[in-house]
Symmetry: C2
Subunit: 549 residues, 2 copies
């Protein structure tokens, strides 16, 4: 089944998004019959389709609603906030479907935290009933968790005791690394199937506030008003409507206005060509807002985001992505200068953070990525980040015999020095030169200069430079070789090499928690015919191998 990540509030089946001045309400009301597969989404449990809407809502809030300062996630169902990921869905999903589902939900929750950190968009979780598993993990991604004190409502991570898997959507990591829950209490909490309620939940730092039923709505609203007042989100002015993303698709080509994908199924490769801007940047940020969704940096980012999600989810046998760019270097440089100059404007800031998140998605993608710097390319600043995100970068030294295009150049801009950090909170250049500050400083002095292949190689900005004579053969060999390796080994290798240096809880979630969860998902104790995911709901206890590994 082809999953489409494009949606719109008018078409939501599971969420209700309402704006009340500075407050946005994200009401969860999952449609039981609206799952992507043959499972009932009971008790506000979710599958990928539910999360695609949540992602869409969090994006639209940032662009379409500049006035919003606080977002409350609440349940529109009685006595339940959210029961987490749907177990029947997990039981019926293939290993890679589970893994992909978790990755996307993790990215969405990291995005919520990014909004808090960078958009003056605080999130509040109003738990008017039980929040279990992924339901509580969603709350953990917010800034403030309010739990109703009605004698029954609990927060819970029942994955280990009930399902034989982990709370893998950041749960374990956020307990100890974000909320500073003591590790032994986290151990107890994560093994108590029925969860923790009331005063104990507060004492263990699992929630921030406990409110009796009678005052619940009132206190939530008070809190929203207070938080909104503290926000530094600037007021007023129109938003940017995220108009429907144009995409045309055949079996082998996907075309967006600012991006093109060419699939070669027999080789297992996709060529992703990001197109640079063709018009000069607008006069000022207000004009950029007027241009809206077709303002190049935003349009390009939306296309890249959608292409990554589409290829990841729907094109599993395409193991290597070839990243290319096309465009006018000077117009691209002018756009970078515009983004830097107006970095403080809310809309420009949102666009840059969105590009940052999208590039992070690329970093976290389990595909080999090779950047190809060829004549006609436009690896400038923002677009050069695509090359630095790649596992390798090949640059043509000179020109192609059969083309009039001049030899390619790479050009750094100030966009390479700060705004577009990775999940390790370092820039891609800092990551590239990790442990070698001198080499990094030298590379950074090259800002604004056009670097040909030999200069880029000297500056350590590309992996290989080949001339026209060797180019095709070297690439063919590299791609055939890559395609011959175990896709699993490549995934593990890339996940380890892409993130040298410090860790953050984002990298811990993707690198540590996710890796353990993936392992557990493959184990018979979870996914075998007698494992916990299969036995769930049958009334028969799972039959575990008792051996520790």
């Amino acid at each position: 089944m082809l999953v489409d990540f494009r949606t719109h509030p008018d078409r939501y089946r599971h969420w209700r998004l309402t704006i009340e001045g500075v407050v946005a309400r994200l009401g969860m009301d999952v449609d039981e019959g609206g799952g992507l597969g043959p499972w009932k989404l009971k008790m506000n449990s979710y599958d990928l389709g539910v999360d695609i809407e949540l992602y869409d809502a969090t994006q639209r809030l940032r662009f379409e609603h500049p006035d919003v300062r606080v977002v409350v996630i609440e349940s529109l169902k009685e006595r339940i906030f959210c029961a987490g990921a749907n177990i029947a869905m997990l039981g019926r999903s293939t290993h890679s479907e589970k893994v992909n589902f978790c990755k996307f939900t993790n990215e969405t929750r990291n995005g919520i935290e990014d909004a808090s950190r960078n958009s003056g968009h605080s999130y509040v979780a109003a738990l008017s009933g039980n929040a279990a598993g992924g339901g509580y993990e969603l709350a953990l991604a917010t800034d403030h968790i309010i739990l109703v004190d009605d004698g029954t409502a609990t927060v819970a991570l029942p994955e280990v005791p009930l399902l034989g898997v982990l709370p893998g959507t950041g749960g374990l990591t956020r307990l100890v690394d974000k909320r500073f829950v003591r590790r032994d209490l986290a151990d107890v909490f994560s093994t108590v199937e029925e969860g923790v309620k009331g005063q104990r939940a507060l004492e263990w730092r699992l929630v921030d506030e406990l409110v009796p039923t009678s005052r619940f709505q009132e206190v939530v609203d008070e809190r929203l008003a207070e938080i909104a007042q503290a926000s530094e989100r600037p007021v007023g002015g129109p938003g940017i409507e995220l108009t429907p993303l144009e995409r045309e698709q055949s079996d082998t080509v996907i075309t967006y206005p600012d991006l093109r994908v060419e699939l070669d199924r027999s080789a297992g490769t996709a060529i992703i060509v990001v197109l640079g801007p063709t018009l000069a940047p607008p006069r000022d940020p207000s004009e950029a807002v007027r241009i809206g969704a077709s303002f190049w940096p935003l349009a390009m980012t939306r296309a890249l985001d959608d292409a990554i999600l589409h290829l990841r989810t729907n094109e599993r046998e395409i193991g290597t992505w070839l990243l290319k760019t096309e465009g006018d270097p000077d117009i691209a440089t002018a756009h970078d200068a515009f983004l830097i100059e107006h970095a403080d404007h809310w809309a420009i800031s949102e666009i840059v953070h969105y590009l940052k998140r999208t590039l992070r998605r690329l970093d976290e993608t389990s595909r080999s990525t090779f950047a190809l710097v060829e004549p006609g390319s436009c690896f400038i600043g923002c677009l050069a980040e695509i090359a630095f995100a790649a596992d390798r970068c090949y640059m043509l030294d000179g020109t192609f015999a059969d083309s009039d295009l001049p030899s390619p150049r790479i050009r750094l801009t100030h966009m390479n020095l700060g705004p577009l950090t990775m999940d390790n909170h370092l820039t891609r250049l800092a990551t590239r030169f990790w442990g070698r500050d001198d080499a990094r400083a030298t590379a950074e002095t090259l800002i604004g200069r056009d670097l040909d292949a030999i200069e880029a190689l000297d500056a350590e900005l590309v992996t290989f430079a080949y001339d026209d004579i060797d180019w095709e053969d070297e690439l063919r060999i590299a791609l055939e070789e890559r395609a011959s390796f175990s896709p699993d080994a490549l995934t593990g290798m890339e996940a380890n090499l892409r993130f040298p240096g410090p860790e953050t809880y984002e990298t811990k979630i993707f690198g540590r928690l996710t890796a353990w969860q993936n392992w557990i998902f493959t184990r018979p104790n979870a996914s075998g015919p007698e494992g916990a995911l299969q036995r769930y709901g049958t009334g028969i206890r799972p039959d575990f191998s008792r051996k520790r590994t």
Copy 2:
């Protein structure tokens, strides 16, 4: 097959340890027929048995040879340094055997780095021939890698291209996080089956020095002399002989002079009772050296180390370890004071670092650990670390009705505030109070005070305090519950909760690299009948699923 981790240089089959003044030579000469299973250990490839000897040698060097300042790891075979982990062994091993083997080899390599960092014991890898896979990873754990420049000798990590698994003994992590190899070059290097030699190996930072064959031995010796001169290892005086570790064993009880293990196979639990010191500490460090291997902190640590390794490897269905202590609090406190007072003495320093490494082994063990603080216990300083290493700590509030022993106390000493750091380089108290500096500071003011259960609970040093009436029931329920959970889910949960806060390359190796490797080990592409590990050496190419996960 029962694996015994106790050995002695006189019995080594695979290594030759020779001491030449300040230089120790660790010569690798693996006995092809000396494997732990029916595999030929060709070309200095290794299995767990080979690594047990390496571990023993690195330990003896620190204790028995105080004069040694530099250790060279070299091959006694022609044209090969080490071919890495034996593939036939990996192919025939169960999943958990592979995982356990990797964990132990990782601990040994981390121990080598610990010797460099803390014992003035630099390690040099003298690569007189090919170093592949685990062979090169062993070199990566040293301080200085010298490669012969003979036109053929390479360093290589051929796991991904050849075996469909990762260089999982720290290789990927040490490339980018220790040696600062650029991530794209690390990608290339880790996919080139034949490896990299000569100048390119040097340029890519894969080795530190390149020496022609004719001068190889001479330059190695020069380098050893230089490094020895720079060492701060104090000279002279006798070492401490690591005399044979006494252990008596029945089917359910293991007894060391300073530790006792009681197994309950039906419950899946082991009670590990660490015995406190019975004699006052020695007058001074020289007397401690004279007492040698029976000096309590050393004897206790050796027993704990051996018990952990034995239970981990040979008792796989014992999923929960109950950690207890017995002894005289004041004598234990006096020992802690002695260790602190003489921390600068080489032998005392070695003992403390050994205890540190052993407690780290406990942190990295995939078993649930509950500490039980009962009357007669001795959770003082060093021994209290065992409680802080545990997933949970239960403390009796008061006394047992059927016993004359007074109610238990916990007592912090300065040993809890610095020397015994975890792999994240934080103390266990700093980890426990991660993100909550005030709570940590408050706890640290309690040094030297006897804390009963209620006080310990208030200070957040224990998880639960129960009185005599509830004790047995609460524990029984907790243990039965723990035993009912999926062992895999518990392993993943514990690996995530035990290490809040910063990451180091040790934690990256155990948490990120190892978790991905474990996942890959379970995948058909590696371990299935048509996977790379099974097909290796048959001449038939593995048949990979091309799907990316």
